[in-house]
Symmetry: C2
Subunit: 205 residues, 2 copies
Amino acid sequence: MRKIIFFLTIFLCSTNVSSNLDLRKYFKVDPPPHEDVAKMARYIVHVSDWAGMATISTRQGILGSPFANIFSVSDGTKKKSTGVPYMYLTDLEMSVKDLKVDNRASITMSLAQTSFCKRHKYDPESPLCAHVVLTGNVEKVHTNSKEGRFAEKSLFTRHPEMPDWPKDHGWWFGKLNITEVCVLDYFGGAKYPTLKEYFKADPLI
Amino acid sequence: MRKIIFFLTIFLCSTNVSSNLDLRKYFKVDPPPHEDVAKMARYIVHVSDWAGMATISTRQGILGSPFANIFSVSDGTKKKSTGVPYMYLTDLEMSVKDLKVDNRASITMSLAQTSFCKRHKYDPESPLCAHVVLTGNVEKVHTNSKEGRFAEKSLFTRHPEMPDWPKDHGWWFGKLNITEVCVLDYFGGAKYPTLKEYFKADPLI
């Protein structure tokens, strides 16, 4: 009960903190040309501050089933995009329990999460309302490493509530170690930029 | 090539069609009290016009991995919410190819998809920015059945582009036959309303 009250207090205190406002500047910038598939993928990943994640469930009742869930993400700071989706995870979380048994995961982010598709009146499933699917496995990023410090900065600047989340939940920084990039933009079916093309592209240039 | 041009023409012609505008009236209505978990689930499902869907991949390279993807959904018309997520599917689609082998799936929808969380400055992963995860299996709904006609009406009124999608893609109406409802709203961990509670609740009352 004390834990719930503490969690509640922390959240209620932090809800007045300005959240994600800086991202508006990205949302005002339209996506790159659809032909630049790798850049489109990087753009969507960079402007999205949350993602739908699929794991293989370990829970009684739906054991072995695919399981979808929502996570806040960040691939970098305002000035630096890496293409690597970082997350702030706790072993108490359902999908993280799945990942402890099988760390394969897939995350999806869509321009439907920005104002772009609504503004252009594109249906969320239209290929003009592009989305990206990243598949791979989730790995821990060590807090005291250079990458750990960058993950922290990337997440905490875009999700200012995070530093106040309950300390006793054992939060850790995770990243999706991407093995496949799948992009649905424009017509002609899914496109698969190579990892080299994906990481070389930069949505901020 | 002809197919691409046709698809392109259809989409470009239909992008001026008013899409999802009617939903604004739902978005203006705040979610039900968090204690009413089943109603919260039904509310989120009803106001969401798209979802992230998890399947088990059948594709070379990521065979057996969880795979996340985006689909337009509708659980009913403006005046009737059923709680059943209907989708307009084609066998040509990646995730549908997965479903043909293993029809288990899970879909997630979040209040982060509406203006609610931004308006209240809730982080997308905050339990105050509620989300729902429905797990089950995807089944075909026969076009000429009563349910098929309702699925068509539900989807086509919320996604006015759909009737114009290419005829040669073999679209069919599918639904998630829900076996588990998982709700993340407020604090204290995930909640699991029974199917009876879920289907009994009505977000429009």
